[in-house]
Symmetry: C2
Subunit: 338 residues, 2 copies
Amino acid sequence: MRYRIFLAGFLAAMNLAASEIDLDALKKDYRRPTDIPQNPDNPLTPESIELGRKLFFEPRISASGLMSCASCHNPSLNWEDGLPTGVGHGHQKLSRSTPTILNAAWNQANFWDGRAETLEEQALGPIAAAGEMNMPLDKMLEVLHAIPGYEELFAEAYPGEGITEETVAKAIANFERTVVSNEAPFDQWIKGDEEAISETAKRGFALFNTKARCSLCHSGWNFSDSSFHDIGLKTDDKGRGGFLGFESMNHFFKTPTLRNVAERAPYMHNGSEATLHDTMELYNKGGRVKRDTLSGDIRPLNLDTDEIEAIIEFLKTLSSDDSEMHMPRLPTLIAAEN
Amino acid sequence: MRYRIFLAGFLAAMNLAASEIDLDALKKDYRRPTDIPQNPDNPLTPESIELGRKLFFEPRISASGLMSCASCHNPSLNWEDGLPTGVGHGHQKLSRSTPTILNAAWNQANFWDGRAETLEEQALGPIAAAGEMNMPLDKMLEVLHAIPGYEELFAEAYPGEGITEETVAKAIANFERTVVSNEAPFDQWIKGDEEAISETAKRGFALFNTKARCSLCHSGWNFSDSSFHDIGLKTDDKGRGGFLGFESMNHFFKTPTLRNVAERAPYMHNGSEATLHDTMELYNKGGRVKRDTLSGDIRPLNLDTDEIEAIIEFLKTLSSDDSEMHMPRLPTLIAAEN
């Protein structure tokens, strides 16, 4: 099914590239959804979200005692870390940049190489990874069992299931589903407010969908097809191909959302591009050339300076004034013994 | 002046220890203040507090890029880290526990050894310390200058002063002054609500001020005399004496606040006591013996089990349902260049 969706988007984009653009028709593809997608096996409940919020901010489930999910997926920095690549246990430098949690509920795959299909599958990975939080999962469960407050929180969120790897993952996943970017000027425009964004930004949006071909991958309201592409960055990281063991998908990485993108520098899976201008230049020079299975396009985009500026002005309309995250008060280690 | 205050508290406590306790008279010494103490050279303004809040949560002023003041002074854990001793750059273990920021506005000295008199003097220490955030201050200023959003924030908070070590310290200090524990059941009792705490807790409060002699050091509404004492822990850490170079003050450490103390395990400057029970046992056995300049008391306290339980029940009434901290959205590194 994912393939069908992808193909339809591709054909639509190609048509638009070839013909006079119909903004009103296009805008229909960018309407904000009204509901958050749920996992039928893990329905969104206030109790599971609240437990997940606590676990997301819980540093005691890391080997250092100092790192939580929120250390790298920092709510103050659009749920990323603002660094070229992540920093893990012992402050070691990791090889890929920290992906945002923003709108993760809409992900059809997680991690840059898509190795986890659901957020539930994703959630425990960075906790256990030696280079990240470095916490063996049996030890994680020991820690949570030793903090008396958690027993009740788990019982409320997942009655009868206890404190297990599965319930930890489910709770974190459900909290992450609630991390949704607020309405941006772009969304107000989509809803009909013509004053919400500038005429230049509208021109940028049209270019984004036609000549610049951005929407081939950055499609829909969240600006991601949740699929994988090689955009021609020369690195040793095999990405999706390394995970699948398919040479044909070497150097394929997941399309990140562009929500709040102007606030999320640096860019790319390896943080190699410092600014939106740098990133646009990369694509404009034909960065997508190598193994671009989408378009087979080996030409540079030939965008002129004004066109690049227009696209960047459009991208800035995707920044929303998101609510400040409230930090939970965490249960204390030995309250019951005190 | 500090000496005079200390002496008065000492004499008052001695009188109470010797005579039948008059709870109503005693309660007068524990009324919550109505105003936050300010530094006349750095008046509390909404702009300075907001700038300080951002800087307090700013990981980019650490060498790792991942640590902020809030990493160790974690709002989710009563502005401490829940660990026996702090964890710093590269996740190295530090030798002293992380002191809370809670009610720091009332501190007359900062750090366990009191080496900084004001919060302004304190604020830059952990940023620059190689073992903590490991960020040379000239580099810190470079980073802040490179994040365009900060220029305006500093201009609003400290017009004409620019981004300097001094303004960074002043802003962080003013934010910290706003971190005040909310009213606890104990405060409601002090205000006159006799139902707010149990009769056992009231008995514990009386013992705290008499037989157990806790109030000799843990005095006043914030339960600290902001002074330094040797309570007989056998460690190599010279504390206040090491800082001052006075052998007579070796092993003296600052009296920590007891606000939210039941939620702030483990205890002591080296995190050596896991629970309030352990801590009470330490004192009960005469832990305060060595070089206790306050009372010269070399006897154990001889509290029985019921008395210890009563004191712990009282200590629990100092826990307040503090507001959740809102995490700021931080200015982005290269917004101006995007």
